[in-house]
C-alpha cells in the first residue's frame, strides 16, 4: 500500500557519483523538514498568539472575564474585558446556522450520493464546489446589502443585521463542507450493504434511513463537526452581517457580536502591547483552542470510520 512496505525488497543499486548521492541526501533532508513543517506551524501559531497575549493572563480575574458580558475595553475609568456575551454570540450564531446547515447538508449529501447519477451528480458536485469558493467577504457583502433589506421587509425584525442574517450566511458557507465530507462517508459504506437491503425489498429511502445512516454515522458526525469548526472560525461574514452589538440575544432578530468579529474590528485600533491588544490575542488563543478540539473530535470520528 505505501512505499514503506517495499523497503525490505532488495533493490539493485548502480554505482553513482558522490555528488549525486550527496545531492539526493540534501533533497531528502529538505523533504523531511517540509514533512514536519505542519507540526511546526500548528505549534508556532499557538505559541506566537499566546506569546502576545500572555503578559495579561495573570492580571485578569478569569471567572469575570469568561462569564461577564461587560466588554468595555476602551472605557476611560473602568476597563472591563468580559467575553461572556461574545462567547454566547459565537455559540448562538453557530448553533442556529447548524440548525439549518446540518439537515440540509446531510440531505443534500444523501441526494448526491444515493439519488442522483451521471451528469446530475457531476453537476451538483461542481455547484457545491462553486458555493464553497465564494469568499467570505462576498457573503458579508450579500448579508449587508441584500439579506439586510429582505429581513427588514419580510420579517418582524427591527434591524436587518442580526443573528438570523449571520446564521443564514454561515449555513450557506458551511453546507458545502458538510455535503462533501458527508458524501465521502456515504460512499465509504460498502455496496454490499445496499445490495443486501435491496434484496430484502427495502426502498431506497429505507436503505438510506435504516442501513446507510447507521453505517456512516461517524462520518456524518465528522461532517457536522467540520461544519461547526468552519462556522465558529468565520470572521468577515459575521462581522458585516450580525450587527456587531455586544448582546446576549433574546430572539433570532437581535444583533449579536462574535469572538472573531471582535478581533477583526478592534485589533486595528489598539496600540501594540496594550492590555486591549493582549486581550484580543487571548481571545485568539480561545478560538484556536475551541477549533482545535472540534477538529480533533472530527478526526477521531473519521478515524472510527476507517477502522470499520
Amino acid at each position: 500500500m505505501t512505499a514503506s512496505q517495499t523497503d525490505n525488497l532488495k533493490r539493485p543499486r548502480m554505482a553513482r557519483s558522490m555528488a549525486a548521492i550527496l545531492g539526493e541526501r540534501t533533497i531528502e533532508l529538505i523533504i523531511r523538514i517540509c514533512g514536519v513543517s505542519a507540526i511546526v506551524f500548528v505549534f508556532g501559531i499557538f505559541l506566537f498568539v499566546l506569546r502576545e497575549g500572555a503578559p495579561l493572563i495573570g492580571k485578569l480575574d478569569w471567572t469575570k472575564v469568561l462569564f461577564s458580558q461587560e466588554w468595555y475595553p476602551t472605557s476611560k475609568g473602568n476597563v472591563r474585558y468580559g467575553v461572556g456575551a461574545l462567547i454566547v454570540g459565537t455559540l448562538s450564531v453557530t448553533g442556529l446556522a447548524m440548525l439549518f446547515a446540518v439537515p440540509f447538508g446531510i440531505g443534500a449529501a444523501v441526494f448526491v450520493s444515493e439519488f442522483s447519477t451521471g451528469k446530475v451528480k457531476e453537476t451538483l458536485k461542481i455547484v457545491i464546489e462553486m458555493l464553497a469558493a465564494i469568499p467570505s467577504i462576498v457573503w458579508g457583502f450579500i448579508g449587508l446589502s441584500v439579506m439586510n433589506r429582505l429581513i427588514q421587509q419580510y420579517l418582524p425584525a427591527p434591524v436587518g443585521l442580526n443573528l438570523l442574517n449571520g446564521a443564514i450566511l454561515l449555513a450557506l458557507m458551511s453546507v458545502p463542507i458538510i455535503v462533501s465530507i458527508g458524501e465521502d462517508a456515504l460512499k465509504a459504506v460498502p455496496d454490499s450493504y445496499r445490495e443486501a437491503a435491496m434484496a430484502m425489498g427495502a426502498t431506497r429511502w429505507q436503505t438510506v434511513y435504516r442501513v446507510l445512516f447507521p453505517a456512516a454515522r461517524n462520518g456524518l458526525l465528522a461532517a457536522a463537526l467540520l461544519g461547526v469548526g468552519r462556522a465558529i472560525g468565520e470572521t468577515m461574514a459575521v462581522l458585516m452581517a450580525t450587527g456587531h452589538a455586544v448582546n446576549i440575544p433574546k430572539s433570532i432578530f437581535d444583533p449579536i457580536r462574535t469572538l472573531t468579529a471582535t478581533i477583526a474590528a478592534e485589533l486595528g485600533e489598539t496600540a501594540v502591547g496594550s492590555d486591549h491588544y493582549r486581550m484580543l490575542f487571548l481571545i485568539g488563543v480561545l478560538l484556536f483552542s475551541i477549533t482545535f478540539v472540534v477538529n480533533l473530535l472530527a478526526d477521531l470520528a473519521v478515524r472510527g470510520v476507517r477502522k470499520q
Binding site: T2, A3, S4, T6, L9, R11, P12, R13, E24, E28, I30, I31, C34, G35, A38, F41, V42, I45, F48, V49, R51, E52, P103, F104, G107, A108, V110, F111, F115, L124, V127, I128, E129, M130, L131, A133, I134, P135, S136, I137, V138, F141, L144, V146, T203, R204, V208, R230, G233, E234, T235, M236, T260, I263, A264, V272, T291, F292, A298, D299
Partner: protein, 283 residues
C-alpha cells in the same frame, strides 16, 4: 412507494435550497455590478476617496499576494505531501503530522491574522507589508495543498514505483522521474484551487499588510515592492462597503462581481483541467 417519492422531493428541495442562492447571488451581482465594469474600471486606480476611478491598485495587490503566497506554500506543501506519501512509515510521527495538517486546516482565518501579526510583522520585524501578508496566506493554504497533493500522489499506482526501483533507480530518482510527472495534473489542480481561496481572503491580510488605500503608479505591473503595504480586492470591497460614505451604489457590487468572477473562473479552470486529465489517464 409514497414515502419514497416524498423523500426524493424533500431531498431534492434541500439541494435546491443550496443551488438557488448561488444562482441568485451571481445573477444579482451581475445585474447590479456589470454596467460599471469595463477595461478602464479594471485598469485605472481609484480616485476621489475611492468613490471614482477603477480598482487597479487593489487588483494588482491581490495578484501580488496570491503569487507570492503560493510560491512559498506550493513547494513546501508538495514536499510535505511527498514525505507523507513516499517516505513516512506508519508511526507516531506520521500520525502527528496528519493530525497537524487537519488542525492547521481548521485554524480560523482571524487567528492566522493574529499569528501573522505576532510572528512576521512584529517578531521577525518584517513590518506590515506584502511579504508578511503573503507569508500569512501561505501558511493558511499549506494544509489544503498538502491534502490535495497527497491524494494526487496516492493515485499513482504502486507498480509504477516498483518498476522504476527494479531498474535500479533510487527513491528520489523514482519520485522525480515517475511519481511527480504522473501526478502533476492532480497537484496543479489543487494549487490552482488555492489561487481562488487566497484571492478571496480578507481577515489574514487586514493586519499584516493590506491597507484601505495606497497610491501607486498606474500602467506598470511592478508598482509594489515586497516591503510595501498594498490594497487588495477583498479588502477594497470591505473598505468601500463599510468605511467609505457616499460611494456610488453600483461600486461595491462591481468589486464583488470582479472578485467572485475571478474566483469562480479559476475554479472552473481547475475543474476543466481535472476532467480533461482524468479522461486521458490510462490506468
Amino acid at each position: 412507494m409514497r414515502r419514497e417519492l416524498v423523500a426524493r422531493i424533500v431531498l431534492g428541495a434541500m439541494v435546491a435550497a443550496m443551488v438557488l442562492p448561488l444562482l441568485a447571488i451571481i445573477a444579482y451581482l451581475v445585474a447590479k455590478g456589470a454596467p460599471l465594469i469595463s477595461l478602464k474600471f479594471l485598469t485605472t486606480n481609484p480616485t476621489h476617496g475611492m468613490r471614482e476611478g477603477g480598482i487597479w491598485s487593489a487588483l494588482l495587490g491581490t495578484i501580488y499576494l496570491v503569487v507570492i503566497a503560493l510560491a512559498v506554500s506550493a513547494p513546501i506543501g508538495v514536499l510535505c505531501a511527498v514525505y507523507l506519501n513516499e517516505y513516512a512509515k506508519d508511526n507516531w510521527l506520521t500520525r502527528m503530522i496528519n493530525l497537524a495538517v487537519v488542525n492547521l486546516a481548521g485554524v480560523p482565518s482571524i487567528v492566522h491574522a493574529l499569528f501573522g501579526l505576532g510572528a512576521f510583522v512584529l517578531f521577525a520585524g518584517i513590518g506590515r507589508s506584502i511579504l508578511a501578508a503573503s507569508l500569512t496566506l501561505a501558511i493558511m493554504t499549506l494544509p489544503v495543498i498538502i491534502a490535495s497533493t497527497k491524494e494526487a500522489l496516492a493515485a499513482v499506482p504502486m507498480s509504477f514505483r516498483e518498476a522504476c526501483w527494479n531498474v535500479g533507480a533510487s527513491r528520489w530518482q523514482t519520485i522525480w522521474s515517475i511519481v511527480l510527472p504522473n501526478s502533476l495534473s492532480g497537484i496543479l489542480t489543487g494549487v490552482i484551487l488555492q489561487v481562488s481561496r487566497t484571492a478571496g481572503e480578507t481577515a489574514p491580510i487586514m493586519f499584516t499588510g493590506a491597507v484601505f488605500f495606497k497610491k501607486i503608479q498606474s500602467g506598470t505591473l511592478f508598482a509594489y515592492s515586497l516591503t510595501d503595504q498594498c490594497m487588495a480586492l477583498s479588502m477594497h470591497l470591505y473598505t468601500v462597503t463599510t468605511q467609505v460614505t457616499n460611494a456610488p451604489e453600483p461600486l461595491p457590487y462591481a468589486i464583488a462581481l470582479v472578485l467572485l468572477g475571478a474566483v469562480l473562473a479559476v475554479n472552473a479552470a481547475s475543474i476543466v483541467v481535472r476532467s480533461l486529465l482524468r479522461s486521458r489517464k490510462k490506468w
